[in-house]
């Protein structure tokens, strides 16, 4: 068996960083990254970007050495992606925050509202309902992070956790402040409005969960394969006929329900900002589906049927 020699150069300075000899032809990029890590312990594999060309795309961990367009002495370029943090850690932190923060406002912990309201509860039953819905939503997200989602990437840049937590925690505090305020005004159309809102909210929560399960089942455990999602026996997944990212569609629906339930402008604002971000993500995902799969269903839109 002919062995390969691998040299790794810095993508910016072209300095020779590492030389590996006697590398198996069937070695993967992932294994090469581990070997590189040994000589440079500060660059753990997750923060290594290995490419064939200094300005090219990153090679995948699964790529096999002998299948790459390289000679028996392979030259790779290295770029430091910066400190990395696992997706699971980020998700758990960014979701645990809103759960706890909202409850602090709900229980009227001291120093938020006037002292005479400390540890009192709202006299409006919709406020209790809203707390249950908000808490349910984030508990669901935490459980899905731990047991349902299968992440393609292990890590993301460290700075993302600060950005994401500021967004989620900040908005949670802003919404919770008004909903649990002693001077909160319940919805204009009372019980009718709240009932409709609750139905929309629950419907979309179940829908969102159904999509997450369907997406999980597309991918066997430990694999990173990508397939076109299709409707399953579960009616909540039939929306796949019209939309590429129905999880985002249902998420929008949930927050519209919550906005209707609380009739709180900060909630409407949070829904709008979330919608804009999810639309950007949905359009990107839709585009990559179209690029990757020739037979991708033409009827589908990224996030809103026929519209967006």
């Amino acid at each position: 068996m002919k062995h390969y020699e691998v040299e790794i150069l810095d993508a910016k300075t072209k300095d020779k960083l590492c030389f590996l000899d006697k590398v198996e032809p069937n070695a993967t990029i992932g294994e090469i990254k581990s070997m590189f890590h040994k000589s440079h312990p500060q660059w753990y594999p997750a923060r290594q970007s290995i490419r064939l060309d200094p300005k090219g795309k990153s090679l995948k961990d699964e790529d096999v050495l002998q299948h790459l367009p390289v000679g028996t002495t392979a030259t790779f370029y290295f770029r430091d992606l910066g400190a990395q943090i696992s997706w699971v850690t980020v998700f758990l932190t960014e979701y645990a925050g809103p759960l706890l923060i909202y409850l602090m406002f709900y229980f009227r912990v001291p120093f938020i509202y006037a002292p005479k309201y400390d540890f009192t509860t709202s006299k409006h039953w919709v406020v209790h309902l809203a707390c249950m819905c908000h808490s349910f939503h984030y508990v669901k997200r935490l459980l899905e992070t731990m047991f349902v989602h299968r992440f393609s990437h292990g890590t993301m840049p460290l700075r993302n956790i600060f950005k994401n937590c500021t967004y989620y925690w900040g908005f949670a505090a802003w919404m919770a402040y008004y909903i649990n305020h002693p001077l909160y005004t319940p919805p204009t159309y009372g019980e009718q409005q709240i009932r409709l809102a609750l139905i929309v909210f629950l419907f979309c929560q179940i829908g969102n969960f159904s999509i997450h399960i369907a997406l999980r089942n597309l991918r066997p455990p430990g694999s990173k394969t990508r397939k076109i999602p299709y409707p399953t026996k579960n009616p909540f997944t039939w929306v796949f006929l019209l939309v590429s990212c129905p999880n985002y569609t249902y998420e929008l629906g949930s927050w519209l329900g919550f906005t209707l339930m609380t009739q709180c402008l900060p909630v409407a604002f949070f829904t709008l900002v979330g919608f804009i971000q999810m639309t950007v993500w949905a359009k990107g995902k839709h585009r990559s589906y179209l690029k990757e799969f020739r037979d991708y269903p033409k009827l589908r839109s990224p996030i809103l049927p026929f519209v967006l």
Partner: protein, 241 residues
């Protein structure tokens, strides 16, 4: 063969359309920049004449208010220019700069009568006037391909003094307005209301003042970098000659 000819004809038509669009854009931008240079010159003259006649700045704002509001508001078009691509600057940078001017004019000076005769108002209005006359005449001459060096020099050097002075004038004005805002409760929304939201203009203004701390250095450094790029290149050419 005829297919190829059609393709060539189509390409010529598209190129002609592009050239026409480019010509229209240049014509419009030239008109826009001449008009804005003139507008701010009128403001400068009005301010000088007022001071010569009255010897004080009290009552100056009232006299120039309409002209100032008109020409500063008209600058909103610059965001559009960036958005449709006829000016190659970031929409966000232009948006932030124009918005902060609109904010100072309409939401501070125009709406809080009690601070209109403050010296800080004169300070930032004078700074804006000098800056805008330089900036718009720079664009005008550049578009007409006859840019005198002294205007280029002014555009990339005066800001070093103008920017900090303008910031001082603006901050002092906002700070001076705070007591009146608090007392009147203007632009504020209190609980309870059916939207379950509140807004306190007084605290909002304090946040605006604090935001100058991260924003001003960034804008200033951006101008310094542009200055180095524009003037530094010139120096090298002169040395070779």
């Amino acid at each position: 063969a005829s297919g190829e000819e059609d393709g060539a004809v189509e390409e010529k038509e598209t190129n002609n359309k592009k050239r026409t669009k480019g010509a229209i854009a240049t014509a419009w931008l030239t008109f826009y920049n001449i008009a804005m240079t003139a507008g701010w010159l009128v403001l400068a003259v009005a301010m000088v004449r007022f001071y010569f006649h009255k010897g004080t700045h009290k009552g100056l704002y009232k006299t120039i208010a309409r002209t100032l509001k008109f020409f500063q508001t008209f600058a909103l078009l610059e965001i559009g220019h960036c958005a449709i691509g006829i000016v190659r600057t970031s929409v966000i940078v232009t948006g932030v700069q124009v918005s902060s001017r609109i904010f100072m004019v309409w939401f501070i000076t125009n709406s809080i009568r009690q601070i209109q005769n403050e010296e800080s108002v004169v300070l930032f209005v004078v700074v804006w006037t000098l800056t805008e006359i330089t900036r718009y005449s720079f664009y005008t001459f550049k578009l007409l391909n006859h840019l005198p060096y002294f205007i280029k020099w002014a555009r990339y050097n005066l800001f070093i003094v103008m920017y900090p002075l303008g910031v001082i004038g603006e901050l002092m004005t906002i700070y001076g307005a705070l007591p009146y805002v608090r007392r009147s409760g203007m632009y504020s929304l209190r609980l309870p209301n059916k939207y379950n939201v509140s807004f306190d203009y007084y605290y909002f203004l304090i946040i605006v003042m604090l935001s100058y701390i991260p924003l001003f250095p960034q804008l200033f450094l951006h101008m310094l970098r542009q200055r180095r790029r524009v003037l530094h290149g010139e120096v090298i050419v002169e040395k070779d000659e």
